[in-house]
């Protein structure tokens, strides 16, 4: 059993490494990078949705804030001498945002109320970044964000950037999996499962929910920093509801509460929506129907079913 798992991992790893060699056209390679960045984003939202059992309709906020932090520091003010410092600052700002919003709301607010409050925060930020144009650049946003570099490499093509993003995706998966086994991760799951019992065993809900919310925001910030350095031109559209709806679809469609789910959701969303051979309006309609049908027939998302089928096939193969 364990060995098969490793075989599956090795196949997946090889596929991930080979992908940009298979998809040689620049457009497809760009999609590949978006897919990886959105996977990080979807995984970060799933911390809130699956493990905290809550909804955030403002999860585009830490994503956009990180991107704008990078925009300000690296392109507009050009104050930070190292690109990686701006990159980290983006994550830091997103984490601080999560800490602030979490501390202010999570003591009392859960469920629908949390969804509405986070939605409101997203709307406020969206307006702010659109309207305060002398500060934020308004609709035109911030352009000319420089490239990230490492000794010997400049991440200026989708090809090289893909591997950078992939590295961070692997890191994200690792962090989430380890966090789930940490006292704090266990506490969050305990609260979701049975809050009164969790409290009666000494778990302080507020503290661990704030920590989880901060972790989710920081990881969304990681995606935001990557995004800014990849597209090099950011606009306030990052703060629109489109992004958060996109993330929610990826998570629910792919399968919440799993690692594979948000990633598959992100893959299908990114590729299907861009590659359907019809006009853009029609694509959205077709995509809507696909999502609807999937949710009806696979309410737990695609991934759990896919995993079951693959395991069955794998067994047949190894016999």
């Amino acid at each position: 059993m364990l060995q098969r798992r490793y075989v599956a991992l090795i196949v997946l790893g090889a596929l991930a490494i080979a992908a940009p060699f298979i998809l040689t056209n620049v457009f497809l390679r760009r999609l590949l990078v978006f897919f990886v960045i959105y996977s990080i984003l979807a995984l970060s939202l799933d911390i809130i949705m699956a493990y905290m059992g809550q909804y955030s309709f403002g999860h585009q906020a830490p994503f956009g804030l990180a991107a704008y932090t990078v925009g300000f520091l690296a392109a507009r003010w050009r104050v930070v001498p190292y690109q990686w410092l701006s990159f980290g600052a983006g994550i830091g700002v997103a984490a601080l945002f999560g800490l602030a919003v979490g501390s202010l709301t999570l003591r009392w607010t859960r469920g629908v109320y949390l969804a509405i409050i986070t939605y409101g925060i997203g709307v406020i930020l969206c307006q702010l970044f659109f309207k305060a144009s002398h500060f934020t650049g308004g609709e035109r946003g911030i352009a000319y964000i420089p490239f990230l570099t490492l000794p010997g490499v400049t991440f200026d093509t989708p090809f090289s950037f893909y591997y950078l993003a992939l590295g961070f995706l692997v890191l994200t998966i690792y962090i989430i999996m380890r966090w789930l086994r940490s006292p704090s991760g266990r506490a969050v799951i305990a609260i979701r499962e049975n809050e009164a019992l969790a409290n009666s065993t000494g778990i302080y809900s507020y503290r661990h929910y704030v920590m989880a919310f901060t972790l989710a925001s920081a990881l969304a910030g990681l995606a935001g920093s990557l995004f800014a350095y990849f597209i090099t031109h950011i606009t306030p559209a990052l703060f629109t509801l489109d992004y958060v709806v996109m993330m929610i679809i990826m998570v629910v469609f792919g399968g919440t509460g799993t690692i594979g789910g948000p990633i598959i959701g992100s893959a299908i969303y990114t590729f299907l929506l861009r590659l359907l051979p019809v006009g853009m309006d029609m694509r959205l309609v077709i995509f809507g129907v696909i999502v609807l049908v999937t949710i009806i027939f696979l309410p737990r998302g695609i991934y759990p079913r896919l995993e079951a089928v693959l395991i069955r096939r794998g067994r047949a193969l190894f016999k």
Binding site: P183, G185, E193, A196, A198, S200
Partner: protein
């Protein structure tokens, strides 16, 4: 010596007085039975002591220090554990995970330590498993270790709830109708386990029970609540012959 003093506790719910100036002293190491007809305020009292409800008036003193108004997790930290009247478990986790999660207060690893998978974290993790198995063996649940809690038979569910409370390593354990819904044989087994917990582990126990016979058999001290008022306290013999208690319990039948 007293481990817990409940002093003049009153609890009002919008005009309904659920508890009225209740005083109870619990001696260290004893098993105290708390009985009373339905709606007499037993569970409300447990919720006040364990921080799930704030009293309208009065004080709860634990080992000489006031704990009134503290939150549930702070009270558990002072080593008071409880179970719930309706079975309360992490139903989507395995039996062992339920216990491991119950050991939360004994975990000292930081989140970063867990993420970096430090040696300290790994050793703590191993220790948690060993301790969880120890508790499960004591409760006779070791064979169900990997079963999801929601798939347990009813009797084992109740045992697991008790095991989770025990996992917090309490000095005072408050059991809210632990034997409800069990058949007589299971009840007997559970009572035996609870006696072991009191005698061998030296844990003070407050047990709420409907079943008079059950409680009379194991508790040396009994408190009777009725309509939020402490009606009587004493040994089982005293309680059994107390005129107020008899009419409180028999009164129900008269009306019916």
């Amino acid at each position: 010596m007293d481990i817990l003093n409940i002093k003049g506790i009153t609890k009002d719910f919008k005009g309904l007085r659920a508890l009225n100036k209740v005083d109870i002293d619990v001696h260290e190491g004893e098993m105290l039975g708390l009985i009373g007809p339905n709606g007499s305020g037993k569970t409300t009292l447990v919720n006040v002591v364990t921080g799930f409800l704030k009293p309208t008036e009065g004080e709860v003193i634990y080992k000489g220090k006031p704990i009134t108004g503290l939150k549930p997790h702070q009270i558990t930290k002072r080593r008071i554990a409880r179970t719930f009247q309706l079975t309360s478990l992490y139903s989507n986790l395995t039996v062992e995970e339920n216990i491991v999660t119950g050991r939360y207060l004994k975990m000292s690893s930081s989140t970063l330590g867990s993420i970096f998978h430090t040696r300290g974290y790994r050793e703590e993790e191993k220790g948690l498993r060993v301790k969880a198995r120890e508790i499960l063996t004591f409760m006779g649940l070791e064979r169900q270790r990997d079963v999801l809690a929601r798939n347990l038979p009813f009797g084992d569910e109740r045992k697991l709830a008790l095991a989770v409370a025990l996992a917090t390593d309490p000095e005072l354990l408050i059991l809210d109708e632990p034997a409800t819904g069990m058949n007589p044989k299971e009840q007997e087994e559970l009572v035996h386990l609870i006696q072991l917990i009191q005698e061998q582990m030296g844990i003070t126990i407050i047990i709420i029970e409907h079943n008079m016979k059950l409680i009379m058999g194991v508790c040396r001290a009994i408190v009777v609540l009725d309509y939020g008022i402490k009606l009587a306290e004493g040994t089982p013999e005293e309680i059994a012959h107390n005129q107020d208690v008899i009419s409180a319990y028999l009164g129900e039948y008269k009306l019916g």
